[in-house]
């Protein structure tokens, strides 16, 4: 009987039934598409790291590394001296010239199961070929295919001039003796890996912000991390992390939407329920029926939302990144995340909405509110102020702040409603604005969702904008020189001697790097000539004294240093002359003046990088000259900083294009939630509409009322979103980023990140309320 009544109701109101299913599907779709897009971005950033090395996170270097050193190290490991290490492998990784073409030769131990799999999953389909002959063959990138056709094992996707082979082959190609190696790759057992993996599955990118595993020092070896060799990747991770934070927002907003749909749906059904209740059907029975119905809807719309989301993600991705048409397969985690959570929200939200509807008083008592408020405040300040609470603390604070803002919508509406008669102005404005606050229960959830979406858009926008400013400054500092040369100290010294005095050369700068521990904290000490030009990169406009030191933000924080303080490095006393932003440096860093001929342990060290500028850096002449150097010094890696800059900017822009798309999705979903709320609201308004019509109110005036109402809704949302957005931006810049990446983003309050989302929000509201106008007309 009840089912029959409900079924008839669906049939009689096909439009609102369809709207409900559509709303649910949209919530699921937005979860799916945001997830798929972030996952793709995460994967792509991972690909920046050479895949052959991806299994190993740290690399042990020492001068003249021989096979026996490796075996000795491995023996110690097997004897249990390095319990943290999970796996290790020797590598040959060198640059050289083959027939005057610069190539990178990477030798891996093919007899090790793991390294063989790394390559074979990339390209080798036929199992048979994985025979002993592989130990003689090479994998090359497309550009070298011809040259090595006689011993080709396969073509791999790699930068131009890459040769991958067994160690023996690599040594042979390099003309090395049989026992020489470049470095040892090690993989540490990371106790947090399982948690990180799970988090990464659920929110792609999130693990980028989790604390990096710091390996113990190993005596006699120089430990380099993978990220050390790929700083751009680290920066990308930071971006990615923000994408994941956005994914969280989209998830939240989608949940809001689903809940909103449940509320709106219940509102429509309520008269039917009430009549049945009057006829003697218990509320529990009705509620269960309602929940089963919501679950059924959730199933239908969930599955369609899954595919809609996939379609949406692919479309968006192709628009933002046209060159790479991706296929974004749905995996287990997406299904769990979208279907699982939306079912949960459907059932719990539906249950909650029902309970709310049968209860006469609104919400919690005042004391409970105050109690919750106090607890929330304590948690918030703990998370923001206590650095030891880490990223979890920061995100809990963000959560508390958002929750606070969202839960303040309903009281805000109630308060405004009590002040309703204070709203003055023309009847049109009064009517429109007052209707916004007249039905707090119907609108509160939708408004909260919209406020959250707009606020996060503002917060992330502020953060991204500030980030972009920092990014520019970072590029300026890191890429202050046109060219950069990396290699071993003797090669670099030879290089320096050869080019110094050349007419093309404008400026040359040598850098050396040392690692040491100060107060137990590992520190990277850079030694270079800090004249005016170089010091400017760190924000100091004078050359430095021999006893002055520049300290990175991270180091300053860890060592509690301020400008003018004293810092002792290897029995030398230095005065802190400046503190510079870290921009994602891996280790805390200090920079000291190079003192030629001084014997103290800090200042004398072997160079590991040389930067230089040319007189006419963009001319063909300069390019030819550099090309000549490449041929002359095949063991050195000479790269153009300009191309690095270009690549970095491209990655950045692409990622942020995706960011804005994600924001747009969140706001759109929130807008639709609001639309559903407004249509539900319209049930309350048919009476006024009819009255106004009999009084001779025309179509345009009706539209005016709609606009005023839209404006009012937008105003309410912005009233909450503006301060919340600013707060979120502040936490992201000043709490999350320093904790995750060790550098404070300088927050810039530019109008665009604020105006953009606000306009978006208003546009949606306006579009929604005007779009629904037809329902207003009298029948």
């Amino acid at each position: 009987m009840i089912s029959k009544a409900l079924w008839r109701f669906f049939i009689a109101t096909p439009w609102s039934t369809a709207m409900t299913i559509f709303g649910l599907a949209l919530g699921v779709a937005s979860i799916v598409s945001v997830h798929l897009i972030s996952r793709t971005v995460a994967d792509q950033l991972d690909k920046l790291v050479a895949y052959e090395l991806s299994g190993y996170s740290y690399f042990l270097h020492r001068d003249k590394l021989l096979a026996k050193d490796y075996f000795e190290f491995r023996q110690h490991w097997r004897n249990g001296r390095y319990p943290g290490i999970e796996a290790m492998a020797p590598f040959v990784d060198e640059r050289t010239l083959v027939d005057n073409v610069p190539v990178r030769i990477l030798g891996v131990d093919l007899l090790l199961q793991s390294s063989r799999q790394e390559i074979s999953t990339q390209n080798l389909a036929d199992e048979e070929r994985r025979s002993s002959t592989l130990l003689e063959e090479v994998w090359v990138d497309e550009s070298l295919r011809e040259k090595y056709s006689h011993r080709l094992a396969g073509v791999i996707e790699a930068p131009q001039g890459t040769i991958v082979s067994d160690i023996g082959v690599a040594q042979e190609l390099l003309g090395w003796q049989q026992d020489r190696l470049s470095y040892i790759g090690v993989r540490y057992r990371d106790p947090t890996k399982a948690i990180k993996d799970l988090a990464e599955h659920l929110l792609p990118g999130i693990s980028a912000g989790m604390p990096v595993f710091k390996p113990p020092q190993i005596v006699g070896w120089q430990v380099k991390s993978l990220a050390d060799q790929h700083p751009a990747n680290q920066f990308g991770k930071s971006v990615l992390f923000n994408v994941s934070a956005l994914g969280m927002l989209a998830l939240l907003v989608a949940w809001f939407l689903i809940y909103q749909v449940a509320v709106a749906w219940l509102r429509r059904l309520w008269p039917v329920f009430q009549r049945l209740h009057v006829l003697g059907v218990e509320h529990t029975v009705l509620r269960n029926r309602f929940l089963v119905m919501m679950m059924g809807f959730g199933m239908v719309s969930g599955v369609s939302g899954l595919f809609l989301g996939q379609f949406l993600a692919e479309q968006i991705y192709t628009i933002v990144v046209p060159q790479a048409p991706p296929s974004l397969p749905i995996d287990f985690w997406v299904v769990i995340k979208s279907l699982g959570t939306s079912w949960l929200v459907c059932s719990i939200g539906g249950w909650w909405a029902y309970v709310q509807n049968t209860r006469s008083n609104d919400g919690l008592s005042r004391t409970t509110y105050i109690l919750f408020g106090m607890i929330g405040m304590a948690v918030f300040f703990f998370g923001v102020l206590v650095e030891a609470s880490g990223l979890v603390g920061a995100f809990v604070s963000i959560g508390v702040l958002s929750l606070f803002a969202a839960s303040s919508v309903s009281p805000l509406l109630h308060t405004l409603r009590r002040q309703a008669r204070r709203i003055r102005g023309s009847w049109l404005v009064r009517l429109g604005l007052r209707e916004v606050i007249w039905f707090p229960r119907d609108l509160a959830v939708a408004l909260a969702g919209l406020s959250l979406a707009v606020a996060t858009a503002i917060g992330v926008g502020l953060m991204v904008d500030s980030f972009r400013g920092d990014f520019d400054r970072m590029l300026e500092r890191r890429l202050a020189y046109d060219w950069s040369v990396v290699g071993t100290a003797p090669d670099l010294l030879k290089f320096k001697a050869a080019v110094e005095g050349a007419s093309q050369l404008q400026r040359i700068q040598t850098y050396a790097k040392n690692q040491m521990r100060i107060q137990g904290i590992p520190l990277e000490v850079n030694v270079t000539r800090l004249d005016r030009y170089e010091a400017r990169r760190y924000g100091i406009s004078r050359s430095l004294q021999a006893n002055e030191v520049l300290v990175g933000e991270q180091a300053a924080r860890l060592l509690h240093l301020q400008i003018g303080d004293q810092l002792n490095l290897a029995s030398n006393a230095y005065i802190v002359a400046g503190i510079f932003a870290s921009f994602g440096d891996l280790l805390p860093r200090v920079v000291v003046q190079e003192i030629v001929g001084d014997a103290n342990t800090v200042a004398v060290s072997m160079p590991d990088t040389i930067n230089f500028n040319l007189v006419q850096s963009n001319s063909d002449d300069a390019a030819a000259w550099v090309e000549g150097l490449r041929v002359e010094f095949p063991y050195l890696e000479i790269h153009s900083q300009q191309s690095t800059r270009k690549m970095a900017l491209e990655t950045f822009d692409r990622t942020f294009a995706i960011t804005s798309v994600l924001i747009a999705i969140a706001i759109m979903v929130a807008g639709i939630g609001l639309y559903i709320a407004i249509t539900a609201l319209r049930l309350n308004q048919t009476v006024s509409a009819k009255l106004l019509s009999t009084m001779g109110v025309n179509r345009w005036e009706n539209l005016g009322v709609d606009l005023a109402r839209g404006f009012g809704i937008g105003l309410c949302a912005i009233l909450i979103a503006l301060p919340l957005g600013w707060g979120l931006g502040w936490i992201l810049c000043h709490v999350v980023n320093p904790r995750a990446f060790g550098w404070t983003v300088t927050m810039q309050l530019s109008p665009w990140p604020i105006l953009g989302p606000v306009m978006w929000g208003l546009w949606f509201v306006k579009g929604r309320s005007a779009g629904g106008r037809c329902c207003w007309r009298l029948n």
Binding site: E435, S693, T694, M695, L778
Partner: protein
């Protein structure tokens, strides 16, 4: 003055069509009143809606004289009819007469605002006082009793001193005393202001007060 000649109106619902009004003719001189009676579904509300220009008749004519000018409703388009209704018609429904988000005074003054007649604001307040609602100016309708709400609606309909007041069962859900009160107000004021009053009603008492009477039979 209202003159209706040979008016007909039917509705189609799906493939079914019903003639609600057929060949209705009536004339009400200015300042006098008409009671429309008839059983439920006989088309009383429909007729009022046609007279207000809310719905169009199928055939026949509706002529109204307002402010010395003659209006032929079937010759006006929708926006002209809307304008006409705004200026010259006062309407009282059986219930839900008031806009919930406007205060009592704002509800009464709404027609003045719509016609940009600020000069009537004083008049509106006085009407409310006369109707015994002086202490309710600033209240929202939801706290008013049914009788009070109807009085507010009558005050609003009278505010502009329109040519015609259409009242659709204005006392339909009121008790004896309130029915008396509201009917008194309606008829007395209509007379004072020289307004033509058309009342659709089931109440014999109310109908008896009207100068003219139109009985709609079942079709």
């Amino acid at each position: 003055m209202i003159r209706i000649t040979n008016l007909a109106k039917g509705f189609t619902d799906g493939n079914q069509s019903i003639d609600v009004l057929r060949d209705v003719s009536v004339e009400v001189p200015s300042g006098s009143s008409l009671a429309i009676t008839g059983s439920s579904g006989s088309g009383k509300s429909t007729l009022l809606n046609v007279m207000a220009g809310i719905i169009e008749s199928d055939s026949g004519e509706v002529e109204l004289t307002a402010a010395g000018q003659k209006y032929n409703l079937h010759q006006l388009n929708e926006s002209q009819r809307t304008k006409f209704r705004r200026q010259h018609i006062g309407y009282v429904h059986q219930f839900y007469n008031l806009i919930p988000t406007l205060t009592v005074l704002e509800n009464v003054l709404l027609p003045a605002e719509l016609n940009k007649r600020k000069d009537l604001f004083q008049h509106g307040a006085r009407l409310l006082e006369d109707f015994g609602l002086a202490d309710k100016f600033d209240k929202f309708p939801r706290i008013l009793s049914g009788g009070e709400q109807q009085r507010v609606a009558v005050a609003r309909a009278l505010l502009l001193k329109p040519a015609v007041i259409l009242a659709d069962e204005p006392t339909g859900n009121l008790d004896q005393a309130n029915t008396q009160l509201v009917a008194d107000l309606l008829f007395a004021m209509a007379k004072d202001f020289k307004v033509s009053l058309v009342v659709a009603t089931h109440s014999e008492d109310v109908a008896a007060r009207a100068g003219h009477r139109l009985h709609l039979g079942e079709v």
